[in-house]
Symmetry: C5
Subunit: 88 residues, 5 copies
């Protein structure tokens, strides 16, 4: 999983079958200092509570679909937790 | 998923078995400012309506094949939505 | 797998279903000289003994979930060994 | 999938079980201008006709094995098409 | 698959369940000129004959586990061939 910050919402009318029920958020990956690094990704919200501005961690690749119901959806990034704190 | 813009179409006569029915588009990944970043990828069109010039989001890796019918095809990138707007 | 050093712990109250039982650690990937390189990842602790400061190796992508019990969880990085020594 | 150009052939006597029947080619990934970019990969030839010098597109990760017969082989890159033309 | 050179061996007493039987080697990925590029990875030896100094090719991600017996192990890189020669 990676740390990221939610920065926006994607609005799309034409979608692939199976994606109708999901909310898609723009997530900016962060480095150790929680600064933006690399390209933003578009992630399904698997905690159903994430919103712009929040610090989250997201899962990528095959496992992202495991966070969703139903599971066999063409999704490769999903937010799986809202971070309260990173203790170092 | 990632944001991208469709920039072209791939014409290929010799293909691996199972890929005959699909349209393959060249998609340029975009950064937060929707500027080109990184290498273009070749993605199957899973919304059956995407074309050059359009802003799309695409899924990569194992999940790309979940967007297609039949599912067990050697495809690792698929366009799964046409973006109307990104709200930030 | 990759070499990494555990640098912190993630505290998250809101999590995706199925992630309640796991400990999530911040792991900094290392290069050949065991210097930090690239972004830290958040990995599940599959040896149940890893902690801050330790040299570990972690598995990424689909195989991370294979290290956990139960297996069908949305996890894409897992610590699978604590390194005693790298012989070169 | 990504665009690439075949630049060589790999000769290996000692191979993992299940890889005896396949031809492995060195493929250099290309950018939009079809210039070399990044590291070359070693890909199985799933069209059974690709050779040095040809412009191809290849699939990576889990889906590469879907292009081969039998499917359960430890292969993560496969050439799935020979490109006639890229229309932009 | 990618080209790499074996540069070391990993010694780890504490391992995730299912990894007891495998030998793990440090592999440095190589570019076209067979020079080191990027971070080393830790790969399971699926040819059971690889050792420090040898030129190998390795498979990454989901397919790495296909090279091993048993298959459902948390391994994401495996050496699947020892290279005799790269013909270009």
């Amino acid at each position: 999983m990676q740390l990221g910050r939610v920065t926006g919402t994607v609005v799309a009318t034409v979608k692939s079958e199976g994606l109708e029920g999901f909310k898609f958020l723009v997530v900016q990956p962060l480095n150790k200092q929680q600064e933006p690094v690399g390209r933003p990704v578009i992630a399904a919200d698997a905690v159903y509570m994430a919103g712009p501005g929040e610090l989250v961690y997201f899962v990528a690749s095959r496992e992202a679909a495991e966070a969703l119901e139903p599971r066999f959806v063409p999704v490769d990034h999903a937010i799986v937790g809202i971070v309260d704190q990173v203790m170092t």
